[in-house]
Amino acid sequence: MKHIVLHEQTTAKVLHKAKAQQYHKKLVKENTQLTIQDLKTHEYVDELLINAIAYLDTLQDSFEQQGTKMREALRYLDPETAHAHRDMDSLVTAVRNKGSALGKSSALGGTIASTSKHYILGMIPPLLQLKEEKNRVKTYLEHNTSRYLPNTTALIGPELAARLVQLSGSRKKLAFLPSSSIQVLGASKAVFRHLREGSKSPKHGILFTHPLVKKTKDKGRVAKLLADKIAIAAKVDYFSGEYIGEQLKKEVEEQL
């Protein structure tokens, strides 16, 4: 009797286990399929915006670094040209335009062998390529920010709009940020110092790079005004897509 009961129990157990295994398999299969579907339909809008603005940074860094070495070498050959163009963009263009005439009318340049001159001129094509690539990325950013963040972009331009997405993490997170946080976005070190040590709270973060903030004396006030409008723009961008960009711009101008 005891024996039979035991046997039945084991059979039930084995059956139960097989059933459970089947059920687990089903869960794995169905969840995997659904997840693959979800991945397939994911659009990676934020990810690509963030990638593009970060890529632009690396291009800008490379351009500056390579350009600095070019400028340094150019001093030995044609210091007048190196001196005349403070801005890297215009220096690169000037050197390209002079080409092999470089150094010919220089009073202060040294005696440079032609192989060395070629070495210096050889630095120009990669720089021009970097410039072109920067422009390509900027165009891409313009296109995507005005499509996915039309109001924010109208207000502060494509690069700054993308920068805010990068700093906040996503369009959604940006849309949920209070304007006081937007105002200091990009100044996290100063914010922490303020919270921890009671130092002065920062008045602006990345918004510092906006022309309106840059040129005013009262940076705190203008940054706050901009942040207020950005907070609205980002919410409208995220939730409705309605276009009120021009109106927001006008409001900023009026309140300045």
């Binding site: 687990h24 869960l27 794995v28 995997t32 994911h42 919270l195």
Partner: protein, 208 residues
């Protein structure tokens, strides 16, 4: 899963584990070595965790990430439900799931379990490793998918809750709120393996 000479070892049953190339033999069985600096579960085991997931536990894992801890756990569990909301992390997790047929991946926001609860089943063990401000909330929301008497593990990252308040103060606060609603079985500070992290273990006892 055993701890030997201070190392967390997981029995190797599947040929590929992308995260562990180190193997050790112990009583004739081959084990993979797990890194406590990369896994809060491993860090817990190193700091005295008494209630890790058991061999036959169905595990509900929140914040699976690229699957480091999951890749070990999935070798001993019959079913591991892995929730992760970053698509890029999920891609990595799917590569691992191809090797480990016990992983059920869910691309979802753990803040909204209602959206995927129909894809879950009752779990014996809940592991929550999500570095968000509302991580405790997320943990609490999933207790109803844990069987009665099941174990819940919360890997608490205090920095995500508040980067300014000292970690131990946040930890005590969290412990206090949890204590009012459930039985705390054990807790560990995961230093020096994980900075500002704690592991809190509860038992899902509905009588409380």
């Amino acid at each position: 899963m055993i701890v030997k000479k201070g190392k967390v070892l997981v029995e190797q049953r599947y040929p590929v584990n992308p995260f562990s190339s180190r193997q050790e033999r112990h009583k004739g069985t081959s084990y993979l070595v797990m890194d406590p600096k990369r896994s809060k579960l491993a860090a817990g085991l190193k700091t005295g965790l008494q209630h890790p997931p058991q061999e036959h536990d169905i595990v509900l894992y929140l914040g699976a990430s690229a699957g480091y801890t999951v890749s070990f756990l999935a070798q001993q569990t019959p079913l591991l439900l892995a929730v992760e909301f970053s698509p890029v992390m999920m891609q990595e997790l799917l590569f691992i799931a191809q090797e480990l047929p016990t992983i059920a991946p869910l691309l979802a926001d753990a803040r909204q379990p209602e959206q995927y609860e129909h894809r879950l089943c009752e779990a014996d063990y809940l592991f929550c490793d999500i570095s968000q401000r509302d991580q405790v909330d997320i943990f609490n929301k999933h207790l109803k998918y844990l069987r009665r008497g099941g174990i819940g593990a919360l890997a608490l990252k205090t920095r995500s809750i508040n980067a300014v308040t000292p970690p131990d103060i946040i930890f005590k606060k969290v412990l206090n709120t949890l204590q009012q609603r459930m039985e705390i079985v054990e807790h560990h500070r995961l230093e020096p393996y994980q900075k500002d992290h704690y592991l809190i273990i509860i038992r899902n006892d509905t009588t409380l």
